[in-house]
Amino acid sequence: MSASAQETHDPPAAGREQALRQVEQFIYREARLADEHDYDAWEALWTDDALYWVPAGGDLTVPAERMSVIYDNRSRISTRLAQLRTGRRHAQDPPSQLRRVISNIEITGEDHGDIIAAANFIAAESRERGVELWAGRVIYRLRPAGNELRMAGKQVLLVNRDQPLPTLAFLI
């Protein structure tokens, strides 16, 4: 069975395909904005109930009571970006040179109208001290808003989150 036949004769499958395309395009765009330090455009992706979470270690049960690498609500995201925009955030002065590859994108569920999607990533970060390789899984909570998607949640599960990490001052 060809994909085009599916699209033509199986509207639910076509809808799923279209939803996945939209999610993929959103994820690629979010990654590019982060790689290129386009703080304003990246910030505009977020909803007001945003949660940007990079856990440390294995315990994901009570994040508000445990140390995380990043656990930003919308206001904290705004502070983090404002610090970066000062140009005096030394750990990002100069900004890291970044490129990330995102793959294995799947829509894994739905929650109160939000699309839950997951993907794997590898990111190369170059600074004067050398190249760091970052890798992990990202779980996105994406909210349909008109014809667009916005980001309500981004959880980054680093593969080495139970080990000592180098400075992570860029938008992962």
Partner: protein, 429 residues
């Protein structure tokens, strides 16, 4: 570095540097940050001899609880035995040297080496070795072969320290004047107890451990290194570390030092200002403190938490605790967690939130400190000038009513105290 319980700390046979020529009153030589031989010497003379912070009693609250921690390069198991006491064991099987414990934390009565199945009680005794006829049966080698124990273990306000030297100053003598800073921290709990139960961030840092230890009470850097976050959040912290600040830097002796911010907080006279809030925004906590401390509560709530570096590896920065773990002359790991106060749930969650924002690899404060450490490490590897200057505030230091040396809020009094103690350990017999 072997520790065999004989009391002999191994000393390098090679010629040792003349530390008196590397560490002067107001300057130190770059090589102390870069020379691998000096690092090896530090392991023997500091890390494997003096009292080193290993963990907090609250991390092993129940019998059988254990965590893996370190003393210098030693992998150490901190375990609470069925006797209720905290034991420190080197994580090395007495048979062929394998790690007996791989998990970072857990609860176990015994540790079984995965290599040949030798099993040890969580207090170190060998209790099983499979196919034991090869050793002549049970009751043969147990007395001789056990996990190595850190010979001295002691705690203060729940902070557990180990010393790999069987003899030497006891913990009370080592902590000296720094003990009362841990008292000040515990006193902020309505129940008088600190807990370190929020988990640790671990931040890999390509810098010598001493650059961190010196920076912890350097009141000169905050306005420059942290200006970006202070300006964005409107934080009043920067002003505490300025030429106009009434705060003082105090050398507490034995290499410990503090930034004493109380003079500034007393001037303001507002409870909870040290935490960036007011008492009416944390009403349950304020009420619990007033119930626990009576009229003394106001002063405690005004003066706030300590900012103290305890030689060589424990740093309490108001609501955070940091631990420095050396790896080599050019690398270390910073561990950080939020202080949690027993009986103060209203404060604890806020302390976690503030700490997560500030510390660790992505912290809006600590990532910038770490950037400075790493650039600093590259700088000190250069040829000239050969020395790091430590003279700031030397001419305006004085001795306070406790007999301790104090300088201004931005002076290098704490660093000079650090180096004086370092020298006494490194050049001693």
């Amino acid at each position: 570095m072997p520790v065999d319980g004989s009391g002999q700390v191994p000393v390098l046979a090679a010629d040792r540097p003349d530390y008196r020529r590397l560490i002067e009153r107001a300057r130190v030589h770059s090589s102390v940050y870069t020379d691998p031989q000096i690092f090896a010497d530090e392991l023997a003379r500091i890390w494997y001899r003096t009292w080193v912070f290993v963990g907090h009693a609250s991390e092993v609250a129940q019998p059988g609880d254990y965590i893996r921690t370190t003393i210098g390069l030693q992998d150490v198991i901190m375990a609470r035995g069925t006797d209720g006491r905290v034991h420190l064991l080197l994580n090395r099987c007495a048979h062929r040297g394998n790690l007996v414990c791989e998990a970072q934390r857990g609860n176990a009565k015994s540790f079984r080496c995965p290599y040949h199945g030798w099993t040890y009680r969580n207090t170190g005794e060998l209790i099983g070795f499979p196919f034991n006829q090869g050793y002549g049966g049970k009751g043969t080698i147990e007395a001789e072969l056990s996990l190595a124990r850190v010979p001295r273990v002691a705690e203060y306000q729940g902070f557990v320290f180990g010393s790999l030297a069987p003899d030497g100053p006891d913990l009370a003598e080592h902590l000296g004047e720094a003990a009362r800073e841990l008292d000040r921290l515990a006193r902020l709990s309505p129940e008088g107890r600190v807990e370190l139960t929020a988990g640790w961030l671990r931040h890999r840092t390509r810098a010598n451990w001493k650059l961190l230890a010196e920076n912890e009470t350097d009141g000169y850097h905050p306005q420059f290194v942290h200006g970006s976050i202070f300006s964005v959040t409107g934080s009043p912290i920067g002003a505490l570390y300025s030429d106009k600040s009434a705060a003082v830097t105090r050398s507490l002796g034995r290499g410990h030092s503090e930034n004493d911010l109380r003079p500034e907080f007393r001037k303001a006279g507002e409870p909870m200002r040290w935490f960036g809030t007011t008492a009416d925004r944390v009403p349950a906590y304020a009420a619990a403190m007033r119930a626990a401390h009576g009229p003394a509560a106001e002063r405690i709530l005004i003066e706030g938490a300590p900012h103290v570096m305890i030689f060589p590896n424990l740093f309490v920065a108001e609501i955070q605790v940091f631990v420095i773990q050396p790896l080599s002359a050019g690398e270390c790991v910073q561990h950080s967690t939020a202080v949690q106060l027993a009986g103060a749930p209203e404060l604890n969650r806020r302390m976690v939130s503030q700490s997560v924002g500030s510390v660790g690899p992505a912290g809006m404060l600590l990532a910038d400190d770490t950037e400075m450490y790493e650039r600093n490490q590259r700088g000190v590897a250069m040829l000239a000038p050969e020395w790091l200057d430590l003279r700031r505030g030397l001419a305006r230091e004085r001795i306070d009513e406790r007999g301790l040396r104090i300088g201004g809020a931005t002076d290098e009094t704490g660093m000079r105290g650090f180096w004086q103690h370092y020298l006494s350990l490194m050049e001693g017999a």
